[in-house]
Amino acid sequence: MSHEHTLEPILLDEAMEEIAAAKREMEIAVDKILTVAERLMARENASGSADSDSLEADCFAIFEACAFQDITGQRLSKSLKKIEQAMAVHEVHAQQRSLWAKSKKETSDGIRAIGSDEEGLLNGPALPGVGLDQDAVNELLKSGTDK
């Protein structure tokens, strides 16, 4: 089977995984925001006024939850890129030209970084369970090693 036949489904699978992850993250973030809003409403209904310190804390919890928009925006951009690339592969195949000579990295990691020292470093948010968490990042910074 030629590379063109295998690349499209891989790109589309990856795009679908990103969209599914973005959907889950939006649901989690909206749930957090609504929970805080409900808590604020309940507190105001109970006491007739909101304690200003806890009000501020709840407002900042909403701020932090809204960071999902950056992450999901990047995931959707990645998905769009993969779909565009899959369409490009399909078009080339249909025109009977080989796209595989073009770097696989270029089609799966993003076009901008090729040839630069950022090649392989522009991946956007990792899928859940794939990237490092903050504790692992902290250890890596402290250790001074490359692993």
């Binding site: 900042f60 701020f63 950056d70 794939v130 990237g131 903050q134 990042v137 890596l140």
Partner: protein, 128 residues
């Protein structure tokens, strides 16, 4: 000596939502003079025009990424010691290693809490 909370600080991100969030968190922490930039080129021009206390930058931006900005800052005689914190969704070890080698002072993975931001800032600029 404690950090002067009136000193200008710069946040760099191509998502306006993140600029609002980080700016809001910094305000809550007591920083009073917060500037914004939407990519590395914009940020570098601002950094050359004013003395900033620190930079908090996203990585993935165009035309100049946060990584390119970091390298440019560290190569600049005037800016080379500027505290620089990367705040990014890039969560691979290769990214952390590359940023560390390029001279980043700290690295925060998105999404993050106000407590994480405060702790990372304290580790870089000291008490405030």
């Amino acid at each position: 000596m404690a950090f002067d909370m009136n000193k200008p600080v710069l946040i760099v991100d191509d998502y306006r939502t993140m600029l609002r969030i980080i700016g809001g968190l910094l305000s809550k922490l007591g920083f009073t003079n917060i500037d914004e930039a939407t990519d590395g080129t914009d940020a570098y021009a601002k950094l050359k025009g004013k003395h900033y206390g620190f930079v908090i930058s996203d990585w993935n931006m165009e035309p100049m990424s946060g990584f390119e900005l970091l390298k440019k800052v560290r190569a600049d005689e005037q800016l080379k010691n500027l505290p620089f914190i990367m705040v990014t969704a890039e969560a691979k070890s290769e990214n952390v290693v590359a940023a560390r080698k390029a001279g980043v002072n700290n690295y925060i993975i998105k999404p993050f809490s106000g407590e994480v931001l405060k702790a990372k800032l304290k580790s870089v600029i000291g008490d405030f």
